[in-house]
Symmetry: C2
Subunit: 136 residues, 2 copies
């Protein structure tokens, strides 16, 4: 009597205008966005959009694996689309700007003690960006 295709018990997710606007905002940015930035950006297309809805959608998009969170010290969580080529982030200590960094140092998975299973990692570099280091 089930209409389920698979066997997982996921809730059906509806395709709303607001979800689309939120995804579009993220897709249009070349950097991780704050919830408030997503709201502002998506409100250009959907003025009625509320902040709570942004948070609720970010949460479900995160759970669905469509987006991922980017943590930066002392700042609120930012979000970016998932499935981008593997990269990390660099934050300038002077101008606070965040830049994507492609690639990954080798040997990360072998850092953990024996018996540990590493399935992911987060890496952020700090320092001065090209612009700021030439000024300083």
């Amino acid at each position: 009597m089930s209409h389920n295709t698979g066997m997982s018990a996921e809730l059906p997710i509806k395709n709303t205008r607001q979800r689309h606007a939120i995804e579009a905002a993220l897709a249009g940015a070349r950097r991780p966005l704050l919830p408030a930035e997503i709201l502002a950006s998506a409100q250009q297309a959907l003025p009625e959009l509320g902040l709570a809805t942004v948070y609720r959608n970010l949460k479900s998009l995160l759970a669905a694996g469509a987006i991922q969170g980017v943590e930066l010290p002392g700042a609120a969580l930012r979000y970016e689309l998932a499935h981008q080529p593997h990269h990390h982030h660099f934050q300038c200590r002077r101008c606070q700007q965040v830049v994507d960094i492609p690639g990954c140092p080798p040997g990360i998975a072998t850092m953990a003690p024996p018996g540990f299973l590493v399935d992911g990692h987060a890496l952020t570099l700090y320092g001065l960006c090209a612009a700021c280091s030439s000024v300083a």
Copy 2:
């Protein structure tokens, strides 16, 4: 007319009981602590201690370089003593426990684009700890 020894304009920092209790709490833990955990731990010696004082001291200890913050996704900022041997953190996706990991992958400083000056980094590994991976 100045009584300063050097030329920096740092505020004199007084040696209070509460500061000592906070440092003792951090020194006694083998893992990064949450401000509320620090409060609870330090209150055993100093019941009058308030949470605001914990925060204020963490801030100045941080500025003084005596402690450092540990960021973990979805959780509040934790603190640990600085000047420990260089290490990173591993968080188990199953039991959420945080473990110190000694060492560092090579080549981190060379990841940034030319012109960038890297002076620090944060790395956290995720996966299953030894206990959880043997159960799963």
